[in-house]
């Protein structure tokens, strides 16, 4: 398997050292890494699941709006960042694999390498009180 670009290696190092949940994806949206804090929210262990394809992670947590309507993957902040290569922000509900309904707020941003290369995206999550 080819090695990851330096920027993604450093992003993973950064995410791994954070106490707030984060996701790291490649330019196609495939999940490369999520940290320990994200494991706590989602009820999954990265060591057990490894990476996931975008179709998988974007639906596995059944994201919904405040009225319980499903949110299509294209409307999720991280998926927007992947497709537009620009920052995105949003709040919604997910079901953790333990069955809890959790309200989260997400900020995502593209990872642009020198001089102008799109290498992936990163998302930070906050577990927030119900809106």
């Amino acid at each position: 398997m080819p090695a990851q670009p330096l920027e993604l290696i450093l992003a993973r190092q950064f995410g791994d050292s954070l106490g707030m949940p984060c996701f790291l994806v490649d330019p196609e949206g495939n999940l490369l890494f999520y940290n320990e804090a994200a494991e706590t929210i989602f009820g999954l262990k990265f060591g057990e699941t490894g990476g996931m394809r975008v179709e998988e992670w974007a639906t596995v947590f059944t994201p919904t709006d405040s009225e319980g309507n499903p949110i299509i993957p294209e409307d999720l902040p991280l998926v927007k960042t992947i497709s537009t290569k620009s920052p995105a922000f949003g709040s919604f509900y997910i079901d953790s694999l333990k069955g809890d309904r959790i309200h989260i707020t997400v900020s995502s941003f593209p990872i642009m390498g020198r001089p102008d290369r799109v290498l992936g995206s990163m998302a930070m999550f906050w577990k927030t009180e119900d809106a």
């Binding site: 398997m1 080819p2 090695a3 990851q4 670009p5 330096l6 920027e7 290696i9 450093l10 993973r12 190092q13 791994d16 642009m112 390498g113 020198r114 001089p115 102008d116 290369r117």
Partner: protein, 278 residues
């Protein structure tokens, strides 16, 4: 591909009788293959390289890993830059904003240096690199960003299936996840994988590294672990600290390898040493 070391000291030239074996000049490597004359970095070692360059050579390619002073301080004293019959190509890492030529002009201008780039008899041809692959004669050059403060490239040179990997300034622990167990998440792996000769940063002992994390350099122990991960045939330890004597370098190597069972050669890189990679 013939490789000659003209400088392997890090940070600052360190001439002196205590450094006679491994040398005092900073980073500079010459690679000759057929008509191609490739120079890796323009540290203080490039002065002597220029002095002894064959008069038949009319084109040289200088590949800069990055623009820290110990890798560029010799450029102004590189004789071919003052010879209008020689075409000099200068390659270096791209940044997001400032062109390479502007960054080189900072060195080639007062108060750092009296001669400006524009005053040279023949302006060098500037090439910006990032994750690139291209050919110089029959040598394939691959460059990729590696973990070191500021934009820094590692180089992989391939000719006749022989591979030279050059990572003179590289911090493995900062640029890797779960080092040394996951090549996919290790900075520089693509550059060094399966190399016949790897020239790699080994500035510190493991004990010293603890107080220098983030400075952009590796310990000798990490460099050896990286060589093992990359399954190189030979590892030459590079970027010797300027305060380190020949005796101390020998002791560092002994301390780091005496309990290891390695299936590749490890040595301290020495100024003047040549390697024939076939």
């Amino acid at each position: 591909m013939k490789v000659k070391v003209w400088g392997c000291r890090g940070s600052l030239p360190a001439p002196g009788p205590e450094n006679k074996i491994y040398g005092g000049n900073t980073s500079c490597i010459q690679v000759m293959h057929g008509e191609a004359c490739i120079i890796l970095d323009g540290g203080s070692g490039i002065l002597r390289l220029g002095k002894y360059l064959s008069p038949e050579i009319t084109e040289v390619h200088v590949l800069l890993s990055h623009l820290h002073m110990d890798h560029t301080m010799g450029l102004g004293f590189f004789a071919p830059l003052y010879n209008p019959k020689i075409t000099v190509h200068l390659y270096g890492p791209s940044t997001s904003n400032e062109p390479l030529v502007n960054r080189l002009r900072r060195y080639f201008s007062p108060p750092l240096f009296p001669v400006r780039l524009s005053e040279l008899p023949r302006h060098p041809i500037i090439h910006e690199l990032n994750t690139s692959e291209f050919k110089i004669g029959d040598v394939t050059v691959k460059s990729d960003y590696i973990c070191h403060p500021g934009p820094t490239l590692g180089y992989r040179l391939t000719a006749n299936k022989s591979v030279l990997a050059y990572l003179p300034d590289h911090e493995l622990q900062m640029g890797s996840v779960n080092f040394p167990n996951d090549p996919e998440w290790t900075s520089g792996f693509e550059i060094a994988n399966g190399a016949d000769l790897l020239l790699h940063d080994a500035a510190y002992t493991s004990k010293e590294y603890v107080s220098k994390i983030g400075w952009g350099h590796s310990s000798i122990r990490d460099a050896i672990a990286f060589g093992k991960m990359c399954k190189v045939k030979k590892l030459a330890l590079f970027h010797h600290e300027p305060i380190r004597s020949d005796e101390q370098l020998d002791q560092m190597l002994l301390d780091s390898t005496q309990n290891l069972k390695l299936n590749f050669e490890v040595e301290i890189c020495a100024e003047g040493k040549t390697y024939d990679l076939g």
